[in-house]
């Protein structure tokens, strides 16, 4: 296949960015999207130009590093991560627009690479269960009903890629935050910190400059792991419950 790419190029965080056109040829439909970009970068290096910077690591859809908006869709047209998108989803002669995640809380570092450390700080604010090493009781001491365990797992699947923020018209991180809140709050092990967790994580999310939820639903559509929109509802419920409980203390 022969393709025209229009790629967002931005030298560094402070520089102005713009879309630059490139041609790539000899692309096989079996290539992954990132392998297609590898081809482009090999060309650019040999031509003495700066290759396109993009985040990627495991290339099997689990680390959450890759983060491209392709033709306006976070992770492109299929419901998967960019690294698991294959060129068979495109046609010979297509023009493909490639942009970074765009959100105030995810400033661009270079080209298609953005800074997602805000997500780490949301987790640091309370996305954990306090269980110092060595302090754990026997694993079977507390059975967890299977539906709760499954609910926890479904939300724990979040890979922290940030597609939800990229897709949200408000740049909101509600789906990300809710995934972790729901994972930990449903478990008996997470119960002692249930209230502070949700209050602190939501407060940190606000502080990072993410937008609010207007339930547009774009986040859940873009999520490569299928975290559902109703996850946000569950977090809202937790937040209200926590606010009431904490006020009573």
């Amino acid at each position: 296949m022969k393709l025209t790419l229009r790629v967002w190029r931005q030298r560094d965080a402070d520089a102005e960015g713009a879309m630059s056109p490139y041609e790539v040829d000899g692309i096989s439909s079996d290539m992954s999207f990132l392998e297609m970009l590898d081809v482009l970068n090999e060309q650019l290096i040999l031509a003495g130009e700066d290759p396109v910077a993009f985040d990627h690591d495991c290339r099997e859809g689990i680390c959450g590093a890759c983060s491209l908006v392709i033709n306006g869709d976070a992770h492109g047209p299929e419901r998967t991560t960019t690294c698991q998108l294959h060129m068979r989803s495109f046609k010979d002669g297509d023009t493909i627009d490639i942009e970074p995640w765009r959100a105030a809380a995810f400033p661009v570092i270079k080209d298609l690479v953005v800074d997602r450390s805000a997500f780490d700080r949301i987790i640091q604010a309370g996305g954990y269960i306090t269980a110092p090493t060595g302090a754990a009781p026997e694993a079977h001491a507390t059975p967890v009903p299977k539906p709760d365990a499954d609910f926890a797992f479904e939300h724990a699947e979040c890979i922290g890629c940030g597609a939800c923020v990229a897709a949200c018209p408000n740049g909101a991180a509600m789906l990300f935050t809710s995934a972790k809140v729901n994972h930990l709050n449903v478990l008996p092990q997470g119960a002692p910190e249930r209230e502070t967790r949700v209050l602190d994580m939501v407060a940190q999310m606000d502080e990072e400059g993410f937008g609010g939820c207007t339930l547009a639903g774009e986040c859940a559509t873009a999520c490569p792991k299928g975290i559902p929109l109703v996850s946000i509802t569950s977090m809202n419920k937790e937040w209200l419950r926590a606010t009431r409980k904490v006020a009573k203390r």
């Binding site: 937008g211 109703v230 606010t243 006020a247």
Partner: protein, 223 residues
Amino acid sequence: MARTVWDSSVGKKTVMAVSGLIMLLYLVVHMIGNLKIFFGAGEFNHYAHWLRTIGEPFMHYEWTLWLIRVVLVVAVVAHAVSAYQLSRRDIRARPSKYVHRKPKVTYATRTMRWGGIILGLFIVWHILDLTTGTVHSGGFQPGHPYQNVVDTFSTWYGDVIYIVAMLALGLHVRHGFWSAAQTLGAGSRTRDRALKTVANVLALLLTAGFIAVPVGVMTGVVS
């Protein structure tokens, strides 16, 4: 607690949800009251008068009505201020747009924002028109709401403003009710269809019920 709620984006959404539901409840009552117009001037004017005497003799004349008005004003202000602040936050959170715009519009967000502004302006006009009479088209007669309503809907612009606003209201309620349920944590996977149905029915009934009045005037059923 009030501080926590107001300072948080989730809290502000809660304020919007609660104030919205209060207004929604009021609208349902208001709409049912409006339908009395089809039973003639006597019944309609009597109903309007009764509104001022609710709670008597415990409440003084118009006390209850004013109480409702205060609650409504608080709800409108809270709803609008939090909507404004949340929208500002949302716009700040996404300062640069994607170069590649997708054709699909973010229907919900847009109709809520523009619809909200339309409804806000409408409320002002509506009060000036039928409560204070300031911008009323005919000779405004306090205590004769039936005639006032007929006067308003006898003008083309009165009908247009009202009908446009009620369509906006329908769309607003349709997403707003479901959205409020999510904000208040009442949604769930199994309940989602039911909530969406209730939202649609509510929106439809309210819009139809309210629009019935100008249509009634236009068609001469009410005169």
